[in-house]
């Protein structure tokens, strides 16, 4: 069983982070008209590096703890606006919509990878 979960692990993590990022971007879009709201985002690459143990905190030994991707308060970053608005809101619709579409496409890509891996496993198990 461990082999199977390791086999799917990278894409499963990526899917979780993408889903999480979708929620953050949706919150930004929901707050497009709220004065003084600061748009936030997740650094996907940094989070994946951390989950994979490739970041500055590397799990080089089997006895090392794995770093949880859930404890991520400090990894949520504030967006620097291109054209700051006077009411202190840093949501820029063009930026948010672009990031959102990109994230959705990448989510779908990850999902396709997962599906392919699963069907590969299924046909191996069935021996067809």
């Amino acid at each position: 069983m461990k082999g199977i979960s390791d086999y799917l692990n990278l894409h499963a993590t990526a899917l979780t982070v993408r889903a999480k990022r979708n929620k953050v971007l949706a919150s930004n879009i929901a707050n497009a008209a709220t004065p003084n709201f600061k748009a936030r985002d997740i650094d996907f690459q940094a989070l994946i590096n951390k989950a994979e143990g490739n970041g500055p905190m590397r799990a080089t030994d089997a006895r090392h703890f794995k770093v949880s991707i859930e404890a991520s308060a400090e990894k949520m970053k504030y967006r620097t606006p291109v054209n700051p608005s006077r009411d202190g809101n840093t949501v820029e619709m063009n930026v948010e919509q672009m990031e959102f579409s990109e994230n959705v496409i990448r989510y779908q890509t990850t999902l396709t990878f997962l599906n392919n891996k699963i069907s590969g496993l299924t046909s191996a198990i069935k021996g067809e």
């Binding site: 929901a30 008209a33 959705v104």
Partner: protein, 138 residues
Amino acid sequence: MAGIENIFDVAGRSMSAQLVRLNTIASNLANAGNISGTEEEAYRAMKPIFQTTYAENVKQSGISTTEVAGITTTERLPERVFMPEHPLADDQGFVFSAAVNVEEEYIEMLEAKRQYANNVEVVTTLRALMMRTINMGK
């Protein structure tokens, strides 16, 4: 009220806030050009105050949405118009017309409409993604 947990709470509450905004715009436009006899009685444009509402676990999830904290009236003063033949005119022949700037309301209506549509778009997209995720491995 239940907490903010998922995408439907986020977009739903934001859409309600935008609807309140559209309602105030409708009231303002409906009252544009209304005449009254005194400055106090004259209609003043209403504006909702938006504020961010955060989910309980916002530190982890980053989820937040917007809500209407209250409704204020604008500080613009009603216009004093000389209309001596009007039945509500004061002894000097002046009436007060509603403090509504129609152009401003139109622009605001367009903005509210677009932001409402953006939220709908987010829900539609993410709902499709969820359906595909449910069917994973089939």
